[in-house]
């Protein structure tokens, strides 16, 4: 480990090199298009391709899976830098590709599944989605109703999914299904399968209109007698619940890391605006009230960062970080939107216009307390696990 005045507790020089390269890509190729993609309510498939070609998607995956073989901290760096593309929807689409739909394939996939699904996904050639949520079942995954019935050498899948990121254009879906709808307890009847979207009977029923994260496509999907070979079962039948929890974990961790950067970015934006805007003969950042609010906001961002890094640390050490991730998600769920609200005060009327990114962040940040497990779900998880801290 490098020592000296700039030594980091977590990152080494190689991570910083990766960071600089990724950041320059983001500044060059992504952030200039933020407005355009928000307006279009999608972003080009080519973004996945470029991210894959440059090795950004697979940085932490094993070399034999098409990755670069880096440690967990490369993932952390990616999640830290992505929000600087200034479009939360792009971040979400990319995080699903690298941190939600694919890590579980790397963990459990057969050599054929890795060749067919994981490698092209990390190369950015095949876009992935993770299909868990249904109209009547979100974090309550035991209540899933989409079924997969064995028929000869196949599974026949029927049901529907909703709020699926990358849903309108995914080439395959890491899909949670009930292989045993009568299982008691119900959560032991769930399995994960890999479903190519060119399977007959698959339809994108609706592209959903969202409050925020507009540049990401979010869809409602239907499965009508979709027939896939049984070799597309991921891991073991009946173990899907645990795989879903594992996918939630990597996804939530990346969301939390990204939220820290977004919080810092929004504060920096507010300062930049406040330094130029004069009110009654004095720039905004020289007013004591504003100075103290900015100090409070940075304090909250630092606390969120420290909590998130604690979760990363545990994850990197190979321990179960569920409690820490849930805590970070809880804190982020409250703080990120509150921060947006407070920062809006700086801009006055301009905050309410679409001329500055703050209005967009205000909408996007609300999702932190809802998506990937709501605030109340985090409270439930923490209350179940907190005894280990007594």
């Amino acid at each position: 480990m490098t020592t000296g005045p700039n030594e980091s507790r977590y990152f080494k020089e190689e991570h910083e090199i990766f960071r600089r390269s990724l950041r320059s890509f983001i500044d060059r190729e992504l952030s200039p298009h933020a407005e355009e993609w928000e307006e279009a309510e999608t972003f080009p498939n080519e973004v996945f391709k470029k991210m894959g070609q440059l090795g950004y998607l697979g940085a932490s995956f094993p070399v034999e899976h098409g990755g670069a073989g880096g440690d967990v901290w490369y993932n952390v760096v990616r999640a830290q830098e992505l929000p600087y593309c200034r479009s939360g929807g792009v971040v979400t689409g990319l995080i699903v590709q690298s941190d939600a739909a694919t890590p579980i394939i790397s963990k459990l996939g057969t050599p054929e599944q890795i060749e067919e699904f994981l490698k092209p996904a990390l190369a950015g050639d095949r876009i992935s989605a993770i299909g868990v949520t249904e109209p009547d079942a979100g974090s309550d995954v035991a209540a899933l109703r989409t079924t997969a019935k064995k028929d000869g050498g196949d599974y026949v899948i029927n049901g529907s999914k909703t709020f699926i990121t990358n849903g309108t254009r995914a080439d395959f879906i890491t899909l949670a299904v009930k292989t045993n709808p009568d299982s008691k307890p119900p959560h032991m009847g769930i399995s994960f399968v890999l479903l190519p979207t060119d399977t007959k009977g698959f339809t994108v029923t609706r592209k959903l209109k969202k409050m925020g994260l507009k540049s990401s496509d979010t869809a409602e999907l239907a499965f009508d007698n979709c027939r896939i070979p049984q070799r597309y079962l991921l891991g073991q039948e009946g173990q899907g619940f645990f795989y879903i929890m594992s996918s939630f974990l990597t996804e939530r961790l990346s969301i939390c890391i990204g939220t820290v950067s977004a919080m810092k970015m929004v504060i920096a934006d507010a300062i930049r605006y406040g330094e130029q805007r004069s009110v009654m003969g004095k720039v905004l950042t020289k007013y004591q009230y504003n100075r103290h609010r900015l100090a409070e906001m940075l304090t909250e961002a630092y606390a969120m960062e420290a909590m998130t890094l604690a979760a990363c640390r545990k994850y990197a050490a190979g321990q179960d970080p569920t409690l820490e991730v849930s805590m970070a998600k809880l804190i982020g769920g409250k703080q990120s939107h509150e921060l947006a609200q407070r920062c809006m005060q700086f801009y006055g009327g301009y905050a309410y216009m679409e001329e500055f990114p703050i209005a967009r962040y205000y909408r996007d940040s609300k999702l932190m307390a809802i998506g990937g497990g709501a605030y109340e779900v985090m409270l439930l998880i923490i209350s179940r696990l907190m005894d280990q801290l007594v």
């Binding site: 100090a295 606390a303 907190m386």
Partner: protein, 369 residues
């Protein structure tokens, strides 16, 4: 691979200090709130510290601070921190050989107790505005000024005092003044919190102190002062987060012992969610304090982090008290109840090192605003 910063030795130290706090401090802590902490208890507490290089190792100091703070007496913790974590490291860092012999060796075994009087009411935000002066006369310095509410002030054997020694704004010097020096008047200050901290208002009326009592170089006190206050902020963040965590543990225990009707309290959703929300904030406060500690221990710049850690932990401690009261109900306010003592001392975290308002102002300055 582990990314934890405390080593196995630190954890072993933690266990020893914890046992000491359990057996020797907690049973008598309420009694000491009225009578003051016996010197020999402080001395015994310091034995752990001596073994770890007497404050040289900031991580060991952090362990000591965290564990002592679990006793739930902010005053007792403040007294030990002022001596062991602030006074002794200043002497170790800046002291002459003679000063080290005179104060350090007896200091680490608790035979000599120190106090630190750095800031002043009008000079917390700007240390360069310190009004206490020291002028050289022959082999002595003459100190004139006042320092309010100094922790350990009524019981310390010596006081590290900051004073102005020149015209220049930054000409500050530090002195080790003997507590029995003629002209030094100590009036115990009766605070509603930190009762066992031994706080006293100090007035220096032409106090003569030998030239050899100058700590460090004349006129070069500002830098070590700033560094020391940065560390004090980290120390109080560690202390506040640890006290909050102890309140949380007591609260959880209570929810398992008590029932609401026929249902154990911890099984009621509202209560379990209050407790869950509390522990997330406390963990974040602890982690933030540890990030600042990690940097400070390596000599890295961390004044912004130290300020943020202090602000967040102080607020977290008071919030934790409020949440605990919701669980304990009025029972928590009964005199002699553990929560009552914790609650009394909790607000001090928001008032030390200038208080939150000053700290936010300092942070804004650090942010370049």
């Amino acid at each position: 691979m582990s990314y934890e910063m405390f080593t196995a030795e630190h954890e072993a130290l933690r266990q020893r200090v914890r046992a000491f706090v359990q057996t020797e401090i907690i049973p008598r802590v309420d009694e000491w709130e009225d009578k003051g902490v016996p010197r020999e208890v402080i001395a015994r507490g310091l034995k752990f510290f001596e073994a770890q290089g007497a404050g040289q190792d900031k991580l060991a100091a952090a362990v000591l601070i965290e564990e002592i703070s679990r006793a739930g007496s902010g005053g007792l913790a403040a007294g030990i921190i002022a001596h062991a974590a602030v006074a002794l490291p200043l002497i170790r860092e800046l002291g002459s050989e003679q000063q080290q012999q005179k104060y350090l060796a007896p200091g680490v075994v608790g035979e000599k107790l120190g106090a630190v009087a750095l800031a002043e009411p009008t000079a917390v935000y700007k240390l360069s505005a310190i009004e206490t002066t020291a002028r050289r006369e022959g082999d002595e310095y003459i100190i004139v000024g006042a320092k309010p509410a100094v922790v350990n002030g009524d019981r310390a054997d010596y006081i590290i005092v900051s004073a102005r020694t020149g015209e220049n704004e930054t000409s500050l010097s530090l002195f080790i003044v003997e507590a029995n020096a003629p002209g030094l008047k100590k009036s115990p200050s009766r605070l509603a919190a930190w009762r066992s901290a031994g706080c006293a208002d100090l007035v220096f009326t032409e106090v003569k102190t030998p030239a050899a009592s100058l700590l460090g170089q004349e006129g070069e006190g500002l830098a070590p002062l700033m560094k020391s206050i940065e560390w004090e902020r980290i120390a109080s963040a560690l202390s506040a987060a640890s006290a909050a965590m102890e309140i949380w543990r007591e609260t959880v225990k209570h929810t398992k012992e008590r029932k609401v009707g026929a249902v154990p309290m911890f099984k009621t959703q509202e209560i379990s969610f209050i407790v869950a929300e509390a522990v997330a904030t406390i963990t974040a406060a602890t982690e933030l304090a540890h990030e600042a500690l990690w940097k400070h221990a390596r000599g890295q710049r961390c004044s912004t982090e130290a300020l943020a850690a202090k602000i967040y932990a102080a607020k977290c401690l008071s919030e934790t008290v409020e949440r605990a009261f919701q669980v304990f109900g009025p029972a928590g306010l009964v005199e002699g109840h553990k929560l009552e003592r914790f609650a009394r001392d909790a607000r001090m975290a928001m008032l030390t090192s200038g208080g939150l308002g000053i700290e936010k102002e300092l942070m804004a300055e650090q942010m370049g605003l």
